[in-house]
Amino acid sequence: MFGAGGGTSSYEEIEHADVVLLWGSNARFAHPIFFHHLLKGIHNGARLYCIDPRRSDSSKWADVWLGIDVGSDIALANAMAKVIIDRGLHHQEFIARATTGFDAYRETVARYPLERATEITGIPGEVIEEMAISYATAGKAQICWTLGITEHHNATDNVLALISLALLTGHVGRYGSGLAPLRGQNNVQGGGDMGAIPNKLPGFQDVEDDQIRGRVERLWGGSIPPQRGWHLTQMFEACHAGMMRGLYVIGENPADSEADVDHAREALAGLEFLVVQDIFLTRTAAMADVVLPAAADWCESEGTVTSSERRVQRVRKALDPPGEARPDLEIIAMLAAAMGRDWGRPTAEQTWDELRRVSPMHAGMSYRRLEDLGGIQWPCYDEDHPGELFIHWRLWEDPIQGPPAPFIPAEWVAPVDRLTHDYPYRLTTGRHLDSYNTGVQSGGYDAPIRIGGTLDVSPEDAERLGVDEGDMLRVSSRRGSIEVPARVDPGLREGLVFMAVHYTDSADVNRLTIEAWDPKSGTAEFKATAVRLEKVGA
């Protein structure tokens, strides 16, 4: 944020926060390591607010759980901002010195009085007000979020609304105060940092900046397309439009994970050439023309990963990969050789050292230092730099260093998939503790607490539908229909139903979800689907 794609704080800071807003996140299931740090914070007296349509396991630790309507986050954040400004609790000095665009922001949030926010979110005004005051007046406050914020058609606006709250109150760039987007995989952060996003070179350098691109081209000895590429959702659109005919997939399973997955599978089937590189024969791999068996990165190859707190850590090889499986690095080098470019057989460390020349924010992170310091948090510009526990402290310098942080107002827009008489239930998705994403990495193993794919309904809806736990329900959206067993969850309210995303064979939830996606991030609105429920055989 403000130009750097990572959380501003460190895990240890959550242990010392006074107020924590856990927003759109069931971290206890989805980020158990982070949640362990959060529990320490709670133990140390932090006041926890959980904003989540479901009363999830994480919410049970909260002082206050706010069960908002799916997709109403911006209305809630803007109403909080209005309370804070109306009561003069905003950090006027910080706003004046370190930000721009406050006036426009104030005008926007002024349109979100508590009554309107209550109407949109379903939360009583006094609860919103209390949370706003508590956040604004806390000594140290954190906002943490996950896919409940980002898997929406207006994901970027959702994030901006939260960032603005931090700017409004000065809860960023100081020890204990910050913004923490929690990453799912151990290396989601690292993927983006390394440039595996369509518009950035390694280290979040803009690919469309001629000067930067020129420098990297000279280092790499080749040319780089001067425009940003497609993100995943655009790729599938291009596929359907016949503009993309070949696809090389590394460690991703879009044939299960894409929203409106029937549509995505059609796109993949229509490709002229599909290459999949993965550790298992996933559904996507099964469709491929060529499958390249890969080593498991966490134990069968050398390298680094980067966690949600921007910490780069070494990964060491413990096992030889089975059969013909090879580390990703080796496979890519072999591909390059086959295409007529001899890269030799670069080691992980040589590759990393090249990255350090390309990406200034990684420049100081030699393997030796990563080992000695137990990992380093970027940015780390040279070998004397210890890394940064939290970033954006520059906003507190007087005068501030670098550009000020802009307020970017966001307006609330309802989820695309509207609830109607025919599709009256709001389906949202999430995770179980024992499983991971589409189950590629977790489904092959038993877990004592695994309950498998179900459609979770509130006790009230279960009664209305006449279903008991285990009865089969037909769940239909405007895109598809599946049959799954019902499970009753008292953490849901009437009209709200839930499915986990892990069980693509038995409960293929993405046949229901909508592909409506956020134009800025490319993320689809997995979290808000309108469905109809029918008892099977009734």
């Binding site: 909260a62 206050v64 759980w65 939360i123 009583p124």
Partner: protein, 574 residues
């Protein structure tokens, strides 16, 4: 997913734990968190109630407790498994804990355990505090009151496990001050207590004022009877000077092997302790008293519980005591089988719902004690001296005993002695006089253990040693909790020492590495002793434990072993 409680478990926990999760708007807003976490101290009572009702703490019950108190299940599991009386595995509804500690193992305890193999309703236990009526058995009974069998027989144990067993005979006591009412006055009757000087001291204390009471306790020279011999008046004055809220804690977690005096006091004169605590609470300005009682003392629990109720009903506890402005109440907290919880800071942690691990000192309890507040913590015997001091004045009390050891002392005589029991004598009486008081040795004495498992063996020829704080200190031994245990010629002393070493290995909380590892190494070395003992090794381990353990357990864990080596009980030192 997570295990759910049964309907019965849910119903029980609904009674013992307040519902802290408040649904403000159904399906929308739930308030919990701090309200629940503020009641962490109800964790141990909730676990104990579950254990008492169902015979174990099931995962479902544990989860329900955690939900109500907002505690991570892993943490609550860590607490539940800390205590010997709590089981996180299913167990038979009745389990007999058979004492195989130093006194009982020589008098039938081991024989009772002979059939242990393959049985899940018999379990060996450290000292049960019934050494005067050995061998002792403590029966945990799901859904019923627990029961003590002492002296126990195999037939009695089977009867207790499968039907009904008889009660225990009254203890042998002798003493004029603290024990004056024990065995003579009905312990279930407040009226009887009041007819025998009861509550005159509280009236006097309220009339004369806080400062006056503290001055009397200071003048009396009363020193703590829990082992550390710290002047009680100094402690009280320090707490009274600290800001409120302050707490009073009575340490009734008597579990030093060979010790049973506090139990005899509480079972024989429960109102005396209630009155003493009330006076202490008044003098030091404490707003609440906690009586942390050993879980293996079901009779004391019942009698004290009844005494508290009667005192409340009579306006001697609660709001406006004796019609005045003083509000004070006392709550019993039951230990669940952990010797270490007798250590004052471990006891605080135990009450607070944490694992019973001692804290680093300083800060001392007078400043940072229970719930982080200034706390008076005194042993039962220390407190029951207080009403007498208030009635006759501190100076009169100070004239009893010796200059440095004022008043009387309760001694627990057991082992190979004619009349085992609790004997009260004025400080200054010698070891020989006490043994004679208890009818003399039952045989030819070869060894005497003084002070309990944390004490030491004393030369049986030192019968002229006055049992005062100063004389024992000069002799390099400790009065400890007042244990005097005799061993006849022919007793397997190596077996006794090995049992003491095993006791410390079992009871080390594991927090300090030197103690966690050292107690194991000492036990191994004692087990290896066979005509020769590795004295230098044990001495070195002892030094490490003394230097680097934060509490008295580690600091005294090798004391008995080293005194046994010095006395040649383990063979030649080499």
């Amino acid at each position: 997913m997570a295990a759910e409680p049964t309907a019965a478990e849910r119903s029980l926990l609904h009674q013992v734990l307040p519902e802290t999760v408040r649904v403000a708007v159904p399906g929308r807003v739930v308030l919990a968190g701090e309200a629940a976490r503020g009641q962490r101290d109800l964790l141990l009572p909730a676990l104990a109630a579950t254990q008492a009702q169902f015979g174990w703490v099931s995962p479902g019950a544990l989860n329900e407790i955690c939900r109500r108190l907002s505690i991570p299940p892993a943490e609550a599991y860590g607490v539940a498994t800390f205590y010997a009386l709590l089981s996180t595995e299913p167990r038979p509804p009745r389990v007999a804990h058979v004492c195989d500690d130093i006194a009982c193992r020589q008098a039938g305890g081991l024989e009772l355990l002979a059939g242990l193999e393959g049985r899940d309703d018999l379990s060996p236990s450290p000292c049960l505090g019934q050494c005067d009526r050995r061998p002792a058995v403590f029966v945990q009974r799901a859904g019923e009151d627990d029961q003590v069998l002492a002296p126990a027989t195999a037939t009695l144990v089977e009867a207790a496990l499968h039907g009904a067993a008889t009660v225990t005979p009254p203890p042998r006591v002798e003493g004029q001050r603290l024990l004056a009412r024990v065995g003579k006055t009905d312990p279930t009757s407040l009226a009887a207590y009041r007819q025998n000087q009861g509550y005159l001291a509280l009236e006097q204390a309220l009339r004369r004022g806080r400062e006056w009471v503290i001055q009397q306790v200071k003048d009396s020279g009363l020193k703590g009877r829990g082992g550390a011999a710290f002047p009680a008046g100094v402690k009280w004055e320090a707490v009274a000077r600290e800001p409120a809220p302050r707490y009073l804690v009575c340490n009734a977690d008597e579990s030093e092997p060979g010790t049973f005096k506090d139990r005899v006091m509480m079972e024989g004169d429960p109102f005396a302790l209630v009155e003493a605590m009330t006076i202490a609470g008044w003098a030091t300005g404490c707003e609440r008293g906690y009586l942390y009682l050993r879980g293996e003392y079901p009779l004391a629990r019942r009698l004290l519980g009844e005494a508290l109720q009667q005192a409340r009903a009579a306006g001697l506890l609660g709001a406006g005591i004796l019609g005045g402005e003083f509000d004070f109440d006392i709550e019993i907290r039951l230990g669940q089988g952990a010797y270490i919880c007798g250590e004052e800071t471990a006891l605080f942690n135990s009450i607070e719902g944490l694992r019973g691990e001692p804290r680093q000192k300083p800060p001392f309890p007078v400043q940072v004690g229970l719930f982080g507040r200034p706390t008076v913590i005194n042993n039962v015997e220390t407190l029951v001296n207080v009403p007498g001091i208030v009635l006759e004045g501190g100076e009169t009390f100070a004239s009893i005993g010796t200059a440095e050891s004022t008043g009387t002392k309760l001694f627990c005589l057991s082992g190979d002695i004619a009349d085992p029991g609790v004997y009260e004598v004025e400080f200054g009486a010698t070891l020989g006089e006490l043994i004679e008081l208890a009818g003399g040795p039952a045989g030819v004495t070869t060894a005497i253990l003084l002070g309990g498992a944390a004490g030491s063996f004393i030369d049986p020829k030192r019968l002229d040693l006055p049992l005062t704080f100063e004389a024992t200190r000069a002799a390099g031994v400790s009065l400890g909790s007042g244990v005097i245990m005799l061993f006849n010629i022919g007793r397997d002393l190596r077996d006794v020492v090995l049992r003491v070493a095993r006791f410390f290995r079992d009871e080390s909380c594991g927090q300090c590495v030197p103690c966690r590892v050292g107690t194991v190494r000492v036990e191994e070395a004692v087990a290896r002793a066979d005509g020769r003992v590795e004295a230098a090794l044990i001495e070195e381990i002892d030094r490490a434990m003394r230097d680097a353990s934060i509490c008295g357990l580690g600091q005294t864990a090798a004391s008995v072993v080293r005194s046994a080596i010095a006395a040649g009980m383990l063979g030649e030192a080499g």
